[in-house]
């Protein structure tokens, strides 16, 4: 019998990624998968040997499930976390933690009160290119940080019932993409003082969005974050640049990449692809993240990224959304 039994809610992209990662972790067994769409999730359940549910209640109440991993659309996170906590189950929740701060606070309080752990999937803290940059910064090798630029660019995401397209549900590229960078930046540079943001989102362009956000950190540094749902289908890349008093770090996932496949003709009969870049690692950062969460759970230690961190990243995202809406800078309150 494996030590930790997980139930995954949502068999979409992230649910699939997490399920594969858990198979790499010997102490973990995917006991159950819940997918509301009839017919979906069957393959994943078969692959992992998990029981397939179509009801969240049933999965959460399954006594075989000790930890609930929530990979549902953002607007369902709060409801599912609260349900899992009420059943005394530990929770791993995809980012963003919630759609607003009151939801996020309630989720954190509830989990605290009932004594279950709440881990949030801010996976960028487990990506080696980001952690290496942070270590170099901490070592003092490039001096004092000054201007940081980040990019996280892809095509418009296609979710079920186009839930990404509904900004109330997904929070757009600021809440869905840039929240990763906000968390990483806050991890490196501390609390944010002021936010100014612009987005493209408009009624006329329902399937196009692009955000440029300026952050001022209390400790001084400035940051500029680019987040795109406007790039061509099949595109996804990230980059960052950390300029400091005595040096600079730059990274571009399109350049710093070991494998790019370009096929003259499609070999498997599918549509020809332009180029398929791959940056394989012996352990995927998602596996590193989930392995870490499981370790924290079994050893009772604090995770590298806490639910409070997730709330603070959400706070920055909400300030950016607010700024984009009002056209004014938003000052964040000091804790």
């Amino acid at each position: 019998m494996k030590e930790i039994r997980i139930g995954i809610i949502g068999a979409g992209t992230m649910g699939g990624v997490h399920a594969s990662c858990y198979q790499e972790i010997p102490e973990v067994q995917v006991a159950a998968i819940c997918e509301f769409e009839p017919g979906e999730g069957r393959e994943l359940a078969q692959k992992t040997g998990a029981k397939l549910y179509s009801s969240v209640d049933a999965l959460i109440e399954d006594p075989a499930v000790e930890v609930v991993d929530i990979c549902t659309p953002t607007h369902l996170h709060a409801q599912h976390v609260l349900q899992a906590a009420a059943a005394g189950k530990h929770v791993i929740c995809e980012k963003p933690l919630a759609r607003n701060l009151s939801e996020a606070e309630k989720m954190i309080e509830t989990c605290d009160k009932v004594g279950v752990k709440l881990f949030v999937g801010h996976v960028v803290r487990f990506f080696p290119e980001y952690t290496l940059a942070r270590r170099i910064l901490e070592s003092g090798r490039i001096g004092k940080p000054a201007v940081i630029r980040t990019s996280r660019n892809g095509s418009f995401p296609r979710g079920k019932q186009n839930w990404f397209g509904n900004r109330q549900l997904s929070l757009g590229p600021i809440g869905d993409l840039l929240i990763h960078d906000f968390d990483f930046l806050r991890w490196c540079f501390g609390e944010v003082e002021r936010v100014y943001a612009k987005t493209l989102h408009s009624e006329q362009l329902p399937d196009l969005d692009y955000a440029l956000v300026t952050l001022r950190f209390r400790r001084g540094p400035l940051a500029h974050c680019e987040g795109s749902w406007a790039h061509a289908p099949g595109t996804f890349f990230v980059r960052f640049e950390i300029a400091a008093s005595d040096g600079l770090i730059e990274y571009d996932s399109r350049k710093n990449i070991p494998i790019t496949l370009t096929q003259r003709k499609p070999i498997d009969g599918t549509t020809p692809r332009v180029a398929i870049p791959e940056s394989p690692l012996t352990e995927s950062p998602y596996t590193t993240e989930l392995r870490h969460f499981i370790l924290c759970l079994t050893q009772g230690t604090e995770p590298l990224v806490t639910a409070y961190d997730a709330l603070k990243a959400l706070e920055i995202a909400l300030a950016a959304l607010d700024s984009a809406k009002t056209g004014k800078p938003v000052e964040l309150k000091e804790d």
Partner: protein, 331 residues
């Protein structure tokens, strides 16, 4: 033959303009003026041109035009002097450090029937023209947003003296990209928000700045104007743009045409540019228009519009609020 001189070698770009003027066949490089005899004498000797310590003495020569490369705050004095002598001017950017100075320069030139051009070489060269051409063809549809950078290394000298430069990185690096935006989009900037600070160098002016600009027709742009390239960076800096349109994305890197050179002899990694010589193309166009008595492509008004955005950025940072253009002439 167009007879041209250079007034002041305070601005480092003069060291690029001078050999370009020498190269141009239809230009007669009359001489240079520089108040620093050591600097000016050396340059004049190397270029084998006449040298004057007093710029008025240069203006007394038989001249069609001068290129003004003084400290920013002294542009007004020199441009007005040239205008009053009936000499056309190409003035280094930014046009001036205040709108009042810029206005005075423009009106002095108008009054005397003198052409006033501003040195924005970024518009020249095939890459910029191709970019504009693609946008005009609608290659990315309607432009919605632009993310731009104009990074550099901290230049030191008078560039970090507020009295002489009028500001730091934001004064130095805002105007190039603003001029490109105005030219490419055929729109004015309507609103400016800025964050800036001195975070990298022990200097009195800001060394970093992040601007957010709104354009007339509703699109927006950000510009990183920071002097954030460290000394060890393989090149001086960059001018880049990511242009997001309704139909696609256009990426622009004006100085991407380089070789990466790893040299153990000087223990240095360098990106050596083999793209168009923008300064040469700019001066060629300027000289031709002077020779043919045509209006200049980039005028004092263009310089003033770009300066206004930089000044609005300072005002915005002071207020921590976006600033709507036009701004007060007193800023």
């Amino acid at each position: 033959m167009v007879k041209i001189g250079i007034m002041s070698f305070a601005h480092i770009h003069a060291y690029s303009y001078a050999p370009a003027l020498k190269k141009l066949q239809d230009v007669e490089f009359i001489g240079i003026a520089d108040e620093d005899p050591k600097r000016g004498g050396k340059v004049a000797q190397e270029l084998a041109v006449n040298y004057f310590t007093d710029y008025r003495a240069l203006l007394d020569q038989d001249l069609d035009a001068v290129v003004v490369c003084s400290e920013n705050v002294r542009h007004r004095e020199m441009v007005v002097a040239a205008a009053e002598r009936g000499v056309h001017v190409l003035c280094e950017k930014p046009i001036a450090t205040t709108l009042a100075d810029a206005e005075e320069m423009i009106s002095a030139c108008q009054r005397n029937g003198i052409k006033l051009g501003i040195a924005f070489p970024c518009r020249y060269g095939a890459a910029s023209k191709r970019l504009k051409n693609l946008l005009d063809q609608g290659a990315v549809g309607e432009v919605l947003a632009i993310m731009a950078t104009n990074h550099g290394k901290m230049p030191g000298g008078w560039f970090v003296d507020k009295q002489l430069a009028g500001g730091g990185a934001v004064m130095d690096h805002t105007v190039y990209v603003v001029d490109l935006l105005r030219w490419m989009l055929k729109q004015e900037v309507t609103r400016v928000y800025a964050e800036m600070d001195t975070l990298m160098h022990p200097i009195e002016v800001e060394d970093c700045g992040l601007l957010t600009l709104e354009m007339e027709k509703g699109s927006f742009a950000t510009l990183d104007a920071s002097w954030s390239r460290p000394k060890s960076y393989p090149t001086w800096g960059d001018v880049t743009m990511e242009i997001v349109g309704t139909q696609g994305i256009l990426s622009f890197d004006l100085f991407a045409q380089t070789l990466s050179v790893y040299g153990d002899v000087d223990n240095q990694v360098a990106w050596e540019n083999w793209g168009d010589n923008l300064d040469l193309e700019m001066l060629r166009d300027f000289a031709q228009r002077i020779a043919n008595d045509q209006p200049l492509w980039i005028t004092g008004e263009d310089g003033m519009k770009a300066l206004e955005v930089a000044l609005a950025a300072y005002e915005s940072y002071k207020l921590h609020q976006p600033v709507t253009l036009p701004i007060s002439r007193n800023l």
